[in-house]
């Protein structure tokens, strides 16, 4: 029997330019949790052991390295833990391999990302605890605000393009200095 070797979505060494840093990260399991109609209570109960609550739009619920990130109407991604049994409360779908995660940090991170994302991502408008579905150039993405910058989820197949686009924005911004 062959042994299947798991490969990360993107094999790239971290890139640091000035104070800005881009790295590919492994988030562990990613599970889509789509609430069925009228199942809010059952969902809350299933999430209780994780210390999480189902997030409002454009936000996330996080505890102990596990986060539940809003990704659409009555839909969220559970990141960093194997999904518990949601019973009939939700449609549960493994998305782990389907997304590449990039972490962009540094004091110019918002400026870099706003080269491609048509949203106000500055800390005042988009503080930690916020997460949005947004286009990154022509690519669908989930942008999550972290203390030091952003966590960006992008389709695995497009990860190389996403990296390239962000790298170009970093280089371009750095060249202005």
């Amino acid at each position: 029997m062959p042994e299947l070797i798991a490969k990360p979505a993107l094999e790239k060494a971290p890139l640091t330019l000035g104070t800005c840093r881009l790295e590919a990260v492994d988030l562990g399991p990613i599970t889509s949790v789509a609430l069925f109609p009228g199942q809010e209570k059952a969902m809350a109960k299933a999430l209780k052991p994780l210390g999480l609550s189902f997030p409002d739009p454009n936000s996330l619920s996080a505890k102990a390295g596990v986060q539940l990130v809003w990704t659409g109407r009555e839909q969220a991604f559970l990141i960093g833990v194997t999904a518990p049994d949601f019973g009939a409360a939700a449609a549960v779908t493994d998305q782990s391999g389907g997304w590449a995660a990039l972490r962009l940090s540094g004091d110019k991170a918002a400026e870099v990302l706003m080269r491609h994302v048509p949203l106000d991502l500055r800390a005042a408008a988009f503080p930690p605890g916020r997460a949005v579905r947004a286009p990154l150039g022509h690519m669908s993405s989930v942008v999550i605000r972290e203390e030091a910058g952003f966590l960006i989820l992008i389709f695995r197949s497009m990860a190389r393009t996403a990296w390239h686009e962000i790298e170009v924005a970093m280089r371009t911004l750095a060249a202005r200095a």
Binding site: N58, G72, R73, V132, R133, A134, P135
Partner: protein
């Protein structure tokens, strides 16, 4: 142009895909006959002024929105989730 998505907040037009009039929400009965079906699919008012039409928030929450706007002033009065509209499914 910016469309106020009820879920995502105001977003740039580039995030949306346009479909057409909100007439599309009122699907005739299967046996309604050729006339009503033809009207439903093809017969459109072309208002100079207020209009309701359907936009898909493709780069955001993947929701279909019914946008109330003005084709003359370009003002956008508001947008609602199609999924939340009463009587949408007929």
């Amino acid at each position: 142009m910016r469309i106020p998505c009820p879920l995502c907040g105001p977003r740039d037009r580039r995030e949306f895909t346009y479909y057409g009039s909100d007439d599309y929400l009122n699907r005739p009965a299967p046996d309604a006959g050729a006339g009503p079906w033809d009207d439903h699919l093809h017969l459109r008012a072309n208002p100079a002024g207020e209009t309701h039409d359907l936009w898909y928030h493709e780069a955001g929450c993947a929701q279909w929105l019914r946008v109330h706007r003005n084709t003359v002033s370009h003002e956008i009065y508001g947008a609602a989730l199609v999924a939340g509209l009463k009587g949408g499914a007929q």
